[in-house]
Amino acid sequence: MPLELVANVTLAGLLTGLVYGLMALGLSVIFGVVRVVNFAHGEMMTIAMYAAVVLFAAFRLDPFIALFPVAAAFFVFGYVLQAGLINPFITRPEHTQFMLVLAVAIIMVNGLLMAFGPDARNIPVDYALESFSIGPLLLDTVRVYAALAAVAIAGGLFLFFKFTATGRAIRACADNYLGAKVVGLDVKKYYALTFGLGAACVGAAGCLMVLLVDVTPLLGPGYTLLAFIIVIVGGLGSMPGALLGGVLIGISEALAGLFFSPSAKSMFSFALLILVLLFRPQGLLGKRH
Amino acid sequence: MAESLLSVHSVSKSFRGLRAVAEVSFDVEEGHIVALIGPNGAGKTTCFNMIAGAFVPDAGEIRFAGQRIDGIRPDQVCLAGIGRTFQLVKPFAGLTVLDNVIVGALRRNSQVGVARRKAQAILERLGLAEKRDQPASALTLPDRKRLEVARSLATEPRLLLLDEVMAGLRPTETDQMVAVFRGLNEEHGLTIVLIEHVMRAVMALSREIHVLHHGELIASGSPDEVVRHPAVLDCYLGEEAV
């Protein structure tokens, strides 16, 4: 096996992994703060991918630009979902919320199936087949741009949480629900805001992902699982963790696909999940409870 | 002198650097009622949790009926003969009152029919018999506390750990509970250790009181001695309590 091939595949996996990381970041924010097990995460991603496809087909809108309206729309959707459907159920047992979001996910996947049919779609941008070469390494242009965009968005979110008042308030709600209420924070509003932000991440990630992968409605559950694996491996509540987890999963998937077979790539992700859950449940960069 | 039923010897527990319990020692003789009092955060519930097996002490030993019990699982502690209630009551909300107590009774009586009869008897003793078919979630707080006690009693413990069972009760309800405990203690020799802030109950029931403050034992003795103890007055009771 030529070293160059391995290196290229690894690099491609790393870049894809950064987009995975952005998707997982959305979940980390949602699960980490609002404690909602967003079982519809992958389905939301798939919807975003279709949104990008539709916008391109209708308006020739480049996904990097479509990203903005899609993320905004997703923010609103996430806010409404949390405020309207999930907030009222906050006091219910954990598995009720879980099932609720699962039901929404089922409706989403199959709604997409009804609307678009099972065939794969993609976005044929002009630069889809271009690549950079750095020495012996060959990098797909789309992949590089997508990865850069993912990192930029993640960075922006990180700065938001660290330096803005709203961001700090959200972190307070995450750390201590009761305490936050006591000091007068409108926790429910911040929950909705947070879900909106998480959803916006997914919206953006979807627009980027559809440049790398063809979309079918059935991708949803797979991405949901992947997002959870990444968040658990990287560490709940850790934003760098989500990106790190994404990169790890991206690379392991790519290498597994290279050395074994394409379908075996998820097996490694699952094995990694099981190992992490057993031996380091707080993840690589997560905080121990 | 016979060995104490419960012997807590120099136990300590810290949480992330914060010392919750620091080298606390006390003994409880069989058939006595002993109270653990002190300000909030003094480490009383942490002591209970260590005795009941919910936490493992960082140092020290806990012996019950001669056997070491520090570090064993909570269900093993129950099997050894210690029952406990929780400060924030934990009823089995989806089950009826009777079923709640049956769960407790099943510890020593594996036949459901026998367990049911024993559970009925306990409910009657605690004044919950008419409510036995109601779901536990429908009970008022005082009744939930009684249920908590009934359930624990059903496991036929030799020693009962009561964590603030009088909190939120009206004086008449408190007196009723006190009567129940006194009855159980006098008729069946049940040993009781209680954490309490309601001094009315503490004074009425206890033979001995231990006072905790900032995780340390600052006073031990009979009720009369303790309420006059300067350190206790200083940190907890205040002048008016005497």
Partner: protein
Amino acid sequence: MKALIAATPKRALVLMLVLAVVLLTLPAFANAYILSVAVLILYFAYLGQAWNVMMGFCGQLSLGHSLYVGIGAYVSAALFVHFGIPPWLGIWASVLACMAAGAAIGVLAFRFGIGGVYFALLTIAFAEFTRIGFDHLDWVGGSGGFFLPVTQREFNDVLALRGSPAMFYYVMLALTAAAFAFCTWLLRTRIGYYWQAIREDPDAAQALGINTFRYKMLAVVVSAGMSAFAGVFFAFYYNNLFPEQIFSMSRSIEIILGPIIGGTGTLFGPILGAVVLTVLADGITELMAVFGWEIPGVKQVFYGTCMLVVIVFLPNGIWPTLARRLGLEHREEGHHNG
């Protein structure tokens, strides 16, 4: 048994008697299509009850239950195709295999204190892992599928699971009835009480002397073992097995829909849920066929909507409310989980 009958309201007894008569004589007056729908209803009613043991009784959420159905199916199918072992023997290997799988998941999860959502994710991961694994297992056909030889028979051979649709119907009916009796009995034993205690509050359960690890393991193993029967039935009824199909997440979700809509933790919930869902879903498919629409995904959207509606408005499922309205509740002292 006598006490049970005495405690049940007359209405309920009459209803159950009528139901029993209908169920026992169904093949006599139903056409092939209705019979096949009935088999499907019973299949999901059975699996729903198996899942309910773990979740409804003991509170452990499994979202990867298709794992056990798949293992049950493949083990006895493989034994039959490769070694000629008939299903009535092969089933025991299936049950053991499923129990082992359940035990493995249980030990890994419970020893390490994994519960709730993380446990559910673990069950999904195991099911998916196995699905992909079987895709590569050529000994049982891999992704191309595993096929059981079907021979024409004039007579029904229950032990070999070869025969008419009516035979399969009765087999499934017997299984579902047995599961119902088993679950009813379980709930009234110490095991049933302890499971429910763990479901309601594991810490309080421990304080009452319950070894939660042991009882959670028992729930998982029993649930897995029960599911094996459904897997074997599936293999010999449909005669083809595809990993993508039988281990898929969609199957796992179908399994849990009945109990959720009917009511987890109750005895009739999973059965009622299976009836409601299958009948309505089939109704929708038929209706759409009338209009000439063949849209994939409609049935699942319907399932999802049902689930959503039930969780929002009837969080305990349809059965508890229905039972109350129809006056079918047990009057028995204490335990009333019907």
